[in-house]
């Protein structure tokens, strides 16, 4: 191997080594923050992006901060990230200084010193970031010089680069707009979001039942032919998108235009209340005429204890059943651990053996929330007696 090829080989090895070093090794400037700092920085960042945390406002600017505003991303966000970070460090320093003042008032000398040290560290970090920003600006000027050189390289190359850059920026902007709209939709109407989740689950259950009964091929076709999902989503759109004229409180709508998106939800609940109401009436009228045998498990009953703040599950538990002529029984049951304990809903199915006063039904969990939902099984066998609490009773 002559001298020339040795040099070339060494160059190749060096290039590979540098590339591996640049790609594979972690960044050396790892942060020295403690877990306490990280948790607080995370909080500050999150609140800052939601505009919930008070950012650094120039004194005397007279700026009034909005109460709640959703995320507004800009394309320049990446360029401003160090500035934001610097502001966060300053905000954190201010927070530590406030804590130090509180510690001083309460006579905690050690805590006061600790917080003051933390504040000082944050200010130093902010200063470092300021320096970093200055470096970045200097580098940027250097990049501009290189760009000028590249421009001189040829008109054609510049046009191609500009074209590619425009496409990239357009795509980035449209993507960011999409993200923002999606987040806004999720955050703006959590009721609709919860409703959509429940609806999805219900549609899945219906589809699975079709597939169970008719097999995978015909079940899927039957589900598609019936167009259940499309109709359901159309209905969902009517409930949430189209405000109907049959509003019970037109004056409220005119005075509170922002309630319009929520108002239809209450309207959507209204029919279910109406549907519950007749069954309640049927109980009050049919209870005195119930004969011991034969029992037909058709009707609705619920617990004595009410949960007044909830319209969907107004009692601790509620059962609604329908018995067909062939003895098959279907229906729903809910448990509501009010106040604040969550809820869980099951869809029920089974067969009523003639003459039997108890009914054993298989329940499949279809929805719920909070702890009761998290702690309940996905499938459960319930023993039902007419007008009596179920067994097991998750919300006695």
């Amino acid at each position: 191997m002559n001298k020339q090829s040795k040099i070339i080989s060494l160059t190749i090895v060096l290039v590979i080594f540098l590339t591996v070093l640049a790609c594979g090794l972690p960044s050396a400037n790892s942060s020295a923050s403690t877990s306490f700092d990280n948790a607080h920085l995370m909080m500050i960042s999150s609140r800052g992006l939601l505009d919930l945390y008070t950012p650094i406002v120039p004194e005397g600017s007279g700026q009034v901060l909005p109460s709640i505003r959703l995320i507004t991303y800009e394309t320049s966000m990446q360029l401003l990230s160090t500035l934001e970070e610097m502001n966060q460090q300053k905000a954190l320093a201010a927070e530590y200084q406030r804590l130090a003042a509180a510690a001083e008032r309460s006579g905690h000398q050690v805590l006061q010193e600790t917080f003051n040290r933390k504040a000082q560290a944050c200010l130093e970090r902010a200063q470092q970031l300021e320096q970093k920003r200055a470096d970045w600006r200097r580098n940027r000027r250097f990049v501009v010089v290189i760009r000028r050189g590249a421009r001189a390289f040829g008109q054609a190359i510049r046009e191609v680069l500009n074209f590619a850059a425009e496409i990239a920026i357009d795509r980035l902007e449209s993507r960011i707009e999409f993200y923002v709209n999606e987040i806004r939709a999720f955050l703006a109407n959590p009721i609709r979001y919860g409703f959509d989740l429940a609806l999805n689950r219900q549609l899945d259950i219906i589809k699975n039942q079709f597939i169970d009964r008719l097999g995978p091929f015909f079940g899927q076709r039957a589900y598609e032919l019936l167009n259940i999902n499309q109709e359901a989503w159309n209905l969902e759109g009517q409930i949430f998108n189209k405000p109907t004229k049959a509003s019970t409180k037109p004056t409220e709508q005119s005075t509170q235009p922002t309630l319009q998106s929520i108002q239809p939800t209450t309207q959507s609940i209204q029919p279910t209340k109406q549907s519950v109401q007749p069954t309640k009436q049927s109980i009050t009228t049919t209870v005195p005429t119930i004969t011991p045998t034969p029992i037909i498990f058709t009707g609705s009953w619920h617990s004595q204890t009410a949960c007044p703040d909830n319209e969907e599950e107004p009692y601790r538990w509620g059962i609604s059943l329908t018995e067909a002529q062939d003895g098959s029984v279907t229906g729903t049951i809910y448990f509501h651990g009010c106040p604040g304990g969550g809820a869980v809903n099951y869809s029920l199915s089974g067969v009523h053996v003639p003459g039997e006063v108890t009914l054993t039904l298989q329940g499949i969990r279809t929805g719920g929330r909070y702890i009761l939902y998290a702690s309940s099984p996905t499938t459960q066998e319930f023993i039902i007696r007419f007008n009596e609490p179920p067994e097991p009773n998750f919300a006695p």
């Binding site: 160059t11 190749i12 790609c23 709640i68 922002t258 106040p339 702890i371």
Partner: protein, 213 residues
């Protein structure tokens, strides 16, 4: 003494060398191209990993959800006032208390109707302070403090809360090493190296539309 035939012909050497150099140059160019491509792919993948993402319909393995066991004082507050209207929880390692050097669960529970906020330090009630300007109307959150445990991973959080759609925003390493912020409906939480360190409900009032619309 060597015969003249055993010596290499100088003219042949001169002819062979340029070919060798050209071959080596081609080889170098090819290697450089491969390295550039690999570097570009690695860089692109890293940029993708660090870019904000909107995740929809995340699939989570169903398992027994891990719930935090509330302390006696927290249970007493819940029995009296129900689940909080809003809350924020931070998990960190104690560094100020000379007598304790363990993990801390720092919680603030807010009750807007009662206009009061409770601060819990590892489940012990430490502060009880009035909220200066409590909300007059708010949307009840669908999350509870017990759903969040220290150092929970993203998978655990998704399994416990039932969140399937969320927005993922990786933070700069200079800010929090391995830190990622998440926004879900009514909830924001932050993970550092896939360990939960911060969670907070996003309080929503029905009169918020005037800021957006």
């Amino acid at each position: 003494m060597h015969s003249p035939a055993s010596y290499p012909n100088p003219s042949q050497l001169v002819k062979k060398q340029p070919k060798k150099i050209v071959l080596i140059l081609i080889l170098v160019i090819m290697v450089m191209c491969i390295i550039s491509t690999v570097a570009f792919l690695v860089f692109s993948y890293r940029e993708f990993q660090r870019s904000p993402k909107l995740v929809e319909g995340a699939k989570v393995r169903s398992g027994a959800p891990t719930l935090y066991s509330l302390s006696a004082e927290q249970s007493e507050v819940i029995n009296r006032l129900g689940q909080p209207d809003s809350f924020s929880i931070m998990f960190y390692r104690e560094e100020f208390d000379p007598s304790y050097d363990g993990e801390v669960r720092d919680e603030v529970w807010r009750y807007y109707k009662e206009g009061i906020a409770y601060t819990f330090y590892n489940g012990a009630l430490t502060y009880e302070e009035p909220i200066s300007s409590p909300q007059t109307s708010w949307i009840v959150p669908v999350y509870t403090p017990a759903q969040f445990t220290a150092n929970a991973s993203l998978t655990t959080i998704l399994a416990t809360t039932g969140i399937r759609d969320y927005f993922e925003l990786p933070l700069e390493d200079e800010l929090i090493d391995g830190g990622t912020l998440y926004y879900a409906p009514g909830l924001t939480f932050g993970l550092a190296n896939d360990q939960l360190i911060y969670v907070e409900t996003i309080s929503m009032t029905e009169s918020m539309g005037d800021n957006n619309e």
